[in-house]
């Protein structure tokens, strides 16, 4: 991505386990330009499984469980478990979540604009698996036109038995949270709602709702065709399959790529043309993720297991490279101020606490009389307290920055700063 625009090119990165033609799975090959048509989609992947009867539904959910597919929206929840929970309810609905409110992530946009039919296949199959007759596809504005055209193309040939509706997502960070997506569809308010009840029990119009990230649905569409063993043929035994990652920051060609889970981070950086400057740190996962030292992380597998001892995880698949010439604290302060402004404003600790915390982090970043004790106190008061995970994510980001950039902290305390470059995309400020 240049600046804060959408994805540029999409390439495949050979995974940890090499199989001929193993990758890319979700994205078209590099030569293809523009979205894949329905005909092209069917030519590449073959037809989706025939219409599902009830026993077939259950065996397909079991196949998804054997495949070990987990959510690709950042939380990594086992997909089969979610499918089973919603299928147990009455009159369920499927929501495909292509909001991608995370500014640093472009993978969902890339997937929706390059392989729209794979996403739609997944939504339809998920609907058939849980017994839903309707799927709502919530898409980032950048993908609205292409997804809309793909839905129309399928409708023209009556491809699906499931009704599909397309809605443009709200342009807010928290808009991608599961209950916020449902709230947006129902009332046009992109704010999370109280839980219990979970959206899988009572969501859209009170019905059990399956909210699934579009990438997860794309994987689902392929598992339904090729089976669990095929899905597990790349990746690691505990974290099977491939995932889309967004590599940005101090790299030659910011890109979104498809890698096998467990691919060394250095290899993922190579997919983006390699680093464009010596690196000091990486932000892994997204703006709710963690900073890690570049030197330490470079050989680590990009997986939960591979990053656990660094206190990090793959999250939403973001790998942001921080060059030596930038200041990690200043970058964190910019992101935290943005995230504080993106609070839905419904819960006191988030609405007031994040604002106060952002002020302290800014002071730390600019060496202007910060109060570390007060910051720690507020981090503790805000962590885990709110109607959604927004404050928790911000606390996690800040705590990792204090760990990784402790040398900078000392320099700033002495009134000296190291860097000025700015690499993390932060949308321009808005008034709430």
């Amino acid at each position: 991505m240049r600046g804060s625009a959408g994805p540029s090119s999409c390439v495949a990165v050979p995974g940890a386990v090499r199989l001929p033609g193993a990758l890319p799975r979700l994205l078209p090959s590099a030569e293809a330009a523009g979205p894949v048509s329905l005909a092209g989609h069917l030519a590449r992947y073959g037809p989706p499984p025939a219409r599902l009867g009830r026993p077939h539904r259950e065996s397909l959910i079991a196949e998804v469980e054997r495949a070990g597919l987990t959510g690709r929206g950042g939380a990594g929840y086992p997909t089969a478990r979610k499918l089973a929970a919603v299928a147990a309810g009455h009159g369920p609905v499927v929501v495909a979540n292509g909001t991608e409110g995370e500014p640093a992530s472009a993978k969902d946009k890339a997937l929706m604009t390059r392989s729209p039919h794979l996403v739609l296949d997944g939504a339809v199959l998920a609907a058939e698996m849980v017994g839903a007759r309707e799927a709502v596809i919530v898409v980032h504005p950048a993908a609205r036109a292409i997804i809309g055209e793909a839905v129309a193309e399928r409708a023209r040939v009556r491809f699906d038995r499931v009704r599909m509706k397309v809605r443009t997502a709200a342009d807010r960070f928290v808009a991608g949270e599961a209950s916020a997506v449902v709230h947006w569809i129902e009332r046009g308010v992109p704010a999370p709602r109280a839980s219990p009840p979970r959206v899988s029990e009572r969501g859209l119009r009170g019905a059990p709702t399956l909210v699934q990230n579009v990438e997860t649905l794309a994987h689902l569409a392929l598992i339904a065709r090729y089976g669990a063993a095929w899905f597990r043929s790349v990746g690691t035994p505990d974290e099977p399959g491939s995932m889309l990652v967004t590599v940005l920051g101090a790299v030659r060609e910011p890109v979104c790529a498809e890698i096998a889970i467990g691919t060394p981070i250095g290899q993922a950086l190579e997919a983006a043309g390699g680093r464009s400057a010596p690196l000091q740190a990486l932000l892994l996962g997204g703006y709710f993720g963690d900073w890690v030292s570049a030197a330490v992380a470079m050989d680590r597998p990009f997986s939960s297991a591979g990053l656990a001892d660094l206190g990090a995880g793959p999250g939403a698949g973001v790998i942001a490279a921080l060059p030596a010439g930038a200041c990690g604290l200043k970058e964190t302060a910019r992101v935290v101020r943005y995230l504080a402004g993106e609070s839905a404003g419904q819960c006191g600790p988030c609405r007031f606490g994040l604002d106060a915390i952002a002020g302290q982090v800014e002071r730390l970043a600019h060496g202007r009389g910060a109060d570390p004790g007060l910051l720690q106190r507020w981090l503790g008061q805000v962590d885990g307290r709110g109607g959604c995970a927004h404050p928790t994510g911000v606390v996690r980001l800040i705590r990792s920055s204090l760990r990784i950039f402790d040398a900078e902290l000392r320099q700033h305390a002495m009134g000296w700063c190291c860097g000025t470059a700015s690499v993390l995309p932060v949308p321009p400020g808005r008034s709430r």
């Binding site: 959510g71 929206g73 950042g74 939380a75 990594g76 929840y77 478990r81 979610k82 929970a85 919603v86 979540n97 909001t99 991608e100 409110g101 995370e102 991608g176 949270e177 599961a178 209950s179 999370p192 709602r193 109280a194 839980s195 219990p196 979970r198 959206v199 899988s200 029990e201 909210v211 990230n213 997204g286 709710f288 939403a316 419904q346 819960c347 006191g348 600790p349 988030c350 007031f352 606490g353 106060a356 106190r377 507020w378 008061q381 805000v382 307290r385 709110g386 109607g387 959604c388 995970a389 927004h390």
Partner: protein
């Protein structure tokens, strides 16, 4: 975690979206509830002891936004996991 009587643990829960930070709960049950720096309730990380159960029920009744309630037994399994993006 169960109390000595063998009954399921009772915990205080608050819906922070409904909560307005009016602070009645911290006044009513200071043994278990305090307010953060912005006036919103923080609960002690333990079950409500039996001697405070009646007070806890009254506190939940007194909340002007009905944001406070008592959760008996294990919390329901989260089918959605943590908030997904």
């Amino acid at each position: 975690m169960t109390a000595g009587t063998g009954q399921a643990a009772v915990r205080l829960r608050v819906d922070l979206i409904a909560c307005d930070g009016r602070g009645l709960c911290a006044e009513a049950l200071p043994e278990l509830i305090t307010l953060d720096d912005w006036g919103f309730p923080i609960f002690a990380d333990r079950a409500v002891p039996p001697r405070l159960l009646a007070d806890a029920r009254e506190t939940a009744r007194a909340c002007p936004k009905l944001a406070l309630w008592l959760d008996r037994g294990q919390p329901a399994r989260r089918a959605d996991g943590p908030a997904a993006q």
